[in-house]
Point group: C2
Chain length 496, copies 2
């Protein structure tokens, strides 16, 4: 006879595998889909979403959870984690009526196209009613979930379990206070990275170099691959992790750093316990922790001197003519270029945090009613001037620049910055626990760092919430001071 726990796991795995199939359809859509097949893919995705929802909300799943909760004394620690997280997921899935999910999906699809056209035409007024409706949907969703009095907390908690707007505010206030003076000093510094240093880097050679980097960082190509798409991303689960990057002959650093960023996500996914796949113990904690992994590899590791001590000779070997006139110092400065920009996705790792703080502040005001949708562009532009020292010349390069709000993805932006703070905090902990770590990097060896992340982060699955995990691994609460220290130590010697 199969135990109730085994039945629960089987049902969770079923829902999980349905999700992985949707994931593959989504990956294929970005990487392979013939241009006129979008409608057919939409049909397939809608069907899989329906089947996934049915599996995730099956009454029998609820019955098994109730039975196991009653008899929880018979469960071991791991089983209790699985039941607790599965209950959360089950309740969240069952509390949303199918009609609500369908309405949100329809509105997101319509909004996306309106947003794209509004951005193209610099016409915020066209997008405004769709944003308004998304805010309404977000409030209704929070109410359905029992968070009616704290809809923005719900939006944040969805992405980073255990996190609240108040906690984010406290972290961001402290970060902003330290960051703005550093940014002012760097922006005023006479030294600048060379723009346009890189021209004519053949894509095939870039691809080879990138694959070597990804391989050396520890990504297992037996259980994943890297392809090309318009926007880099990482998708997949278990034994099949699909990452993407993109190539531009005149911007090799974009391919290198976006690949390393996605590799951070991919290493996390590959490090989740395979035997627990489909259960919460085989799942990532949330967006912030995920981002901490991508940022740690992209920034703390791959923008450092030790990393380039190993890879610079290889890069020069791959592109001897292209780099002949580029001195080592110039190359390293370009890798750590600092320049204010209006566009979040183009921002360096310092300014990036200000872009996030701006969005968080505005989202908070939209949700608490102190800012009307109609007044959002003016508020955006004013805050941009204050935080970044730049005023968008139009809404396309301001409030309309990001895709997120067109999908109603509120509470998502903070995760990026939570990830940045967490990455820096993990970094200093790793440096402390693993003496001589950067000497490893200079030899092209990243196994000690990866092993440490595996044990402390990846193999934990969803055992901890975001903040619990940080405390568990680093011994202290999440704090922005590690990120501030890291940025100061990396950038001040280069520019000041």
């Amino acid at each position: 006879m199969t135990s109730a726990y085994e039945q629960l796991v089987a049902r969770l795995k079923r829902a999980h595998y349905l999700g992985t199939i949707s994931g593959l359809l989504g990956w294929d859509e970005q990487v392979n889909l013939p241009p006129d097949s979008a409608d057919q893919r939409a049909e397939q995705l809608a069907l899989m979403a329906e089947l996934h929802h049915a599996a995730a909300t099956a009454p029998e799943l609820g019955r098994l959870l109730a039975e196991l909760e009653q008899a929880s004394a018979n469960l071991d620690d791991e089983q209790r984690v699985v039941v607790r997280r599965a209950r959360l997921d089950y309740d969240r899935a069952t509390r949303l009526p199918g009609e609500f999910a369908a309405e949100k999906a329809r509105h997101s699809s319509a909004s996306y196209h309106v947003w794209a056209a509004a951005k193209e035409d610099n016409d915020y007024a066209r997008f405004a009613p769709f944003l308004e409706k998304h805010l309404d949907l977000a409030r209704r969703e929070a109410a359905l979930q029992g968070w009616g009095d704290r809809p923005y907390d719900y939006a944040i908690e969805r992405h980073d379990p255990g996190m609240t707007a108040a906690k984010v505010t406290a972290l961001f206030d402290e970060l902003r206070a330290g960051l703005v003076p550093l940014v002012r000093r760097l922006d005023a510094a006479p030294r600048k990275a060379h723009a346009g240093l890189f021209r004519g880097f053949p894509v095939d050679a870039q691809k080879e170099f990138v694959e070597d980097v990804v391989d050396r960082l520890g990504f297992d190509f037996g259980r994943g691959r890297i392809d090309v798409s318009l926007h880099p991303f990482c998708e997949g689960a278990g034994a099949d992790i699909r990452m993407t990057t993109r190539f531009d002959a005149d911007n090799p650093l974009d391919a290198i750093f976006s690949s390393i960023h996605e590799t951070g996500h991919g290493l996390y996914e590959q490090g989740l316990p395979l035997a627990r796949q489909g259960t919460p113990l085989g799942q990532s904690v949330g967006m912030g922790v995920h981002e901490s992994q991508s940022r740690l590899w992209e920034n703390q590791v791959a923008r450092g001197r030790a990393f380039w001590r190993f890879f610079e000779p290889r890069l020069r070997k791959a592109f001897p003519a292209q780099l002949a006139g580029v001195a080592s110092d110039e190359l390293y400065l370009a890798i750590n270029a600092v320049e204010p920009t209006l566009i979040r996705v183009d921002a360096d790792e310092i300014h990036y945090n200000l872009h996030i703080i701006l969005r968080f502040e505005l989202e908070q005001r939209l949700f608490n009613g102190s800012l009307a949708v109609a007044d959002l562009p003016a508020a955006w532009n004013a805050r941009s001037a204050e935080l970044l020292g730049l005023t968008p010349p139009d809404d396309a390069r301001g409030v309309l620049q990001d895709v997120h709000w067109s999908g109603g993805a509120f509470g998502y932006f903070p995760s990026y910055c939570i990830g940045n703070m967490m990455a820096a905090q993990l970094w200093f902990t790793a440096l402390d626990r693993l003496p001589g770590l950067e000497d490893d990097f200079a030899r092209g060896d990243f196994t000690r760092l990866l092993g440490w992340l595996r044990t402390n982060i990846h193999e934990q699955g969803r055992r901890f919430d975001t903040l619990e995990l940080v405390k568990h691994v680093t011994g202290e609460d999440l704090s922005p001071r590690h990120l501030l220290r890291y940025l100061e130590e990396r950038y001040a010697p280069l520019y000041l």
Copy 2:
């Protein structure tokens, strides 16, 4: 209120889309899957197979069919075709118990691995009990379907609706009688195509040439793509047709002709009425008709002088140095090389038919009990000597060479040869109805032929059975004499 017919179509489409998702997972497995992800993909495929089976056997589908059959006077012609074919599919799906399907799937998986090892080790005895069990399963399956007295007819009819072993026997007897003398004359001819004419054809340039050919034949890259896999195939449906090919620097003709072959399949799929997708009117007739499309383009069209009048200059432009020493006549002879071989998949388009006749005869004897599984290798070798003039030196190059029987795919081989006969018959009909057709080819224009196939074959969906369709299009019953005439006219002038 939705009519019963609309409900039927919605349910058929649902099952169809589930099938297309499995198809994409299968394509991805051959084209992209990381080496250590096979188990995970197997889980996904098993789940999709279960969901597809549930959708195809839903009791509500049976109820709708019964309701529509009762009120069939209210249906138009197209609707009647849909109901009739859907009834056939529904009955076939529901007659097979889930446990039987699972037993067959398990046995096929086990057999595949045993077959691969037996072929590797030239050890037929190891495979024999698995083949025996597959024969038993095939007989049981036929009995479950109500064909207990004619299990081999059922195996054939599954691949080519309306076809029987007796009809195939009559066709193949006549074909063999004409073919064997032609083969003997060709094999004895002193003129031979140069082996090893092609060396060092860069894969990138091959790829470009192949894509140009595929495009000019009329494949719509807006609704499909061509990739690389170990064994070329065509998968997909509706607006998303995925073909594959393979490249060998020393064998460019393999990539060219396997791509054209798959393009024939792809054009058929792209020509099925998109608005009827998911219903029998949007489906292909069967294996033989499908093969007629791939063979027509591969052989009648692409091995002809007119085709190469257009493409030879392009091939020489793509590979000027590699083809510098190859005269036009040598190239054309290599394209139409004739040589007996033990291996079916390496056979030229003449000998190929003898390989099929051999397999059909042996399958028939296995099913009617006149040949025991233990005696199969000896029977194979004897018949090979008689038909091909070659005796396999071992079973790996004899009875173990094909994958089909390891999956219990009896009755499948005849379709290849039915396709060859049908292709030649369609070809002469097209030449008759479309005067100056080959002049089009010499200008790189294939639109008239494709348009004719669209109207007469592709757009018919599953309206007709295999033989009905041949009669409908060509005005006469399927006959091997067109294939014999075509082979004589193409090869006699070249070699005799």
